[in-house]
């Protein structure tokens, strides 16, 4: 599903699930590896999390000034390990610019996933 942030008309939020379709191998997911590109191969400003709910880290900014601690990374969806057949939620946010050319693709580091359909509005 694709939606638009309420007050950020250029930002798109893609929500779905990813599934490890392998029959033998685990796959380690790292949201930091996710890259969003347009048809011209231009990298868009983007962010991904393997989570389907907002959450915040256990430690405030003063306590963890260098980003989420290890346990939070797992909990907040920065990384996941999927066993064969297992799935995980994925939310990818990206920002369009006037020069962005569809279609958009999501590169998760081990391959590329197409973003089907045109961006919808928040109310669709």
């Amino acid at each position: 599903m694709l939606t638009v942030a309420d007050r950020l008309p250029d930002d798109r939020i893609l929500a779905g699930t990813v599934r490890n379709a392998s029959v033998r191998k685990d796959i380690a997911l790292d949201s930091g590896r996710v890259v969003v590109r347009d048809a011209a191969g231009t990298r868009l400003e983007a962010y991904a999390l393997y989570s389907f709910a907002f959450a915040h880290g256990l430690y405030g900014q003063a306590e963890a000034p260098n980003g989420p601690v290890e346990s939070d990374r797992e909990r907040l969806g920065y990384r996941r390990t999927l066993k064969p057949g297992q799935s995980a939620p994925l939310v990818v946010a990206y920002r369009l610019t006037p020069s962005t050319r569809p279609p958009i693709t999501v590169d998760y580091g081990g391959g590329t996933l197409p973003v089907p359909g045109a961006p919808t509005t928040a109310r669709e």
Partner: protein
């Protein structure tokens, strides 16, 4: 080598893959105390008194009580007489000299606690008697594989109970430790018992909270730490500049904080954690980087004995409250009120205004006893004008400027510790069986009241049966929305926002200005005769909140897709 095939399935997600357990803890390992006291402690005028004063206390008293009225002169005489008994210039030595049931009377003045300030701030591994007394707050039972990505270098350690016993002023400007038995295994502390300094009363002896100022160095974690101090009563002073909390009440059965101004603390003005039978009364909490008041990890009123039984209130009902907050104001903070696992709170007749968001209670974090959150009763509060955007680019730049730390920043610069949806009156994120009733909720430019579900995996609970165990049984009834108490229309962005997940939720009897209908998203919300019955949230709505997880003031102050920090124009 063939790579594992990853499929993207664009569909609604009803459940989450389970992450590894992560029982971390932001405090120290804590458990609930036994519930013995009936109600919070009451003010006493009896009991041995120790008097603390400054050189200028007498002059201050004469200024404070300068009138010619008989009562004023009598009060002045009484205080000047007490002043002659002053034997302490600092509060900590008076605490050290006190016994259970004592009163500590603090005469007007500014208290910086120089001896405590010069006590070394002990870090893990330091050559100190408490240098090894830390809890690794993550990693217990964490069977996660090595991290796939870069990891934080921040050591996830906290002083454990032994640390506070051996070096009470390492992290606390004023430490009140009610149980000095060392733990054999501090990661699994003994059942909380108050053995000393129980029923202690500490009060400012001026006319108002402003007459006694306890000010820390912005390095000590807590200004006052009350740990296993059953029956503690704190009254009438101003407390400021804690690097974490102004007042931190931990594992305590029975506490009252009254007429206290708590300000300029990095996180919380007043925090209670695994404490019960508590009363916050006439508190003024402001300019704190998280919230003015935080009754977190509260004991559930339905589980006063078996604290950790899962789902107890679902079977038994909420029963009694365990922490009350009344007649208080919390303003100009990131949050007026917050409480992860803030259970069984009775919050009434307060004002929460001009924060980034008014009140939140949630089930977001792991390591908080009492999950998931349930059973608040909030009524007759004024919750308004919570549009103070402390996440503006300008403010975030000030906070990040030059890598400054709390002790290097201007006192009145409030730097957010956690992200919140600016412009929100009330956010219930993963709450159950809560009652929001007869409040005035207006002029919050995003949401008057918002409710969203939080899957159990987010708090480190991987049980598949628990994944939709929040956002159930909440009632929003008879609130006045978008209208001030004087009847002036002052709309919220949307009165009620709901992610559409949960069973047993209802909205009924809420009214706008002049009896007008309230606004909501979705347009129709269930009434209490036929409450909600939906296991899944609206993924479009919930998904739109997810990018805000990525907020990081240094590296990602405005995450793509997160609109929480963009407050729209004032609704008309």
């Amino acid at each position: 080598m063939r790579r594992p095939l990853l499929l993207l399935v664009l569909t609604c997600v009803a459940s989450l893959a389970a992450p590894a357990a992560s029982p971390a803890h932001p405090e120290r390992p804590t458990v609930f105390p036994a519930y013995k006291v009936v109600g919070p402690p009451k003010y006493r005028t009896t009991g041995t008194a120790l008097v603390v004063c400054q050189r200028d206390s007498g002059a201050r008293l004469k200024r404070i009580y300068k009138g010619r009225g008989a009562k004023t002169r009598r009060e002045l005489r009484r205080r000047l007489k007490l002043l002659k008994k002053c034997r302490f210039r600092e509060i900590q030595p008076a605490v050290n000299a006190a016994r259970s049931g004592y009163r500590i009377l603090i005469m007007p003045g500014v208290y910086t606690e120089p001896a405590s300030r010069t006590t070394p701030f002990v870090q893990p591994g330091d050559a100190s008697k408490c240098g090894e007394d830390f809890a690794v707050t993550e990693g217990f039972d964490n069977t996660a594989p090595p991290p796939a990505g870069p990891s934080s270098a921040d050591p996830p350690v906290r002083p454990n109970r032994n640390h506070h016993i051996k070096c009470p002023n390492s992290r606390n400007l004023i430490a009140i430790i009610g149980d000095e038995r060392l733990e054999e295994d501090a990661a699994a502390p003994s059942d909380p018992v108050c053995r000393r300094l129980c029923n202690l009363q500490i009060e400012g002896y001026g006319k108002t909270a402003k007459d006694v100022l306890i000010t820390s160095d912005r390095r000590k974690t807590d200004v006052i730490r009350a740990d296993r101090t059953n029956g503690i009563y704190l009254r009438r002073f101003t407390i400021e500049n804690g690097a974490f909390n102004g007042i931190d009440i931990v594992e305590t059965d029975g506490f009252t904080v009254k007429e206290i101004e708590a300000r300029f603390n990095q996180n919380y003005g007043i925090l209670s954690f695994t404490a019960t039978n508590g009363l916050y009364d006439r508190i003024d909490g402001h300019h704190n980087g998280d919230s003015g008041v935080y009754p977190g990890s509260g004991m559930k009123g339905c589980a006063l004995e078996n604290h950790d039984l899962y789902g107890t209130c679902e079977k038994l009902g909420c029963q009694r409250w365990t922490t009350e907050i009344r007649n208080s104001r919390s303003h100009d903070n990131v949050l007026g009120y917050s409480g992860t696992a803030g259970n069984s709170t009775y919050v009434h007749d307060n004002e929460f205004d001009n924060n980034s968001a008014g009140l939140t209670t949630d089930s977001f974090a792991s390591g908080h006893p009492g999950m998931p959150q349930e059973c608040f009763k909030w009524e007759r509060n004024k919750i308004h004008s919570n549009n103070n955007n402390l996440f503006s680019a300008e403010n975030q730049q000030k906070c990040a400027a030059g890598g400054t730390t709390f002790d290097q920043r201007p006192q009145d610069l409030v730097c957010p510790q956690f992200q919140v949806p600016v412009g929100t009156g009330v956010l219930v994120a993963g709450g159950n069986r809560n009652l929001l009733r007869e409040n005035w909720i207006y002029d919050n430019w995003r949401w008057g009241v918002a409710q969203l579900g939080v899957p159990a995996a987010v708090r480190g609970d991987d049980d598949p049966a628990h994944q939709t165990d929040t956002s159930n049984g909440n009632r929003y009834v008879d609130n006045r929305m978008g209208v001030r108490p004087d009847g002036t229309r002052d709309p919220n962005g949307v009165d009620f926002w709901w992610d559409e997940q949960g069973v047993g939720n209802c909205w009924q009897g809420n009214m706008g200005a002049g009896g007008a209908a309230t606004t909501s998203d979705p347009i129709l919300v269930p009434g209490c005769a036929k409450p909600s019955n939906s296991a899944a949230s609206n993924p479009l709505k919930l998904g739109r909140q997810v990018p805000c997880t990525a907020w990081d003031p240094k590296r990602n102050p405005r995450p793509v897709g997160c609109d929480w920090f963009d407050v729209g124009p004032e609704p008309q």
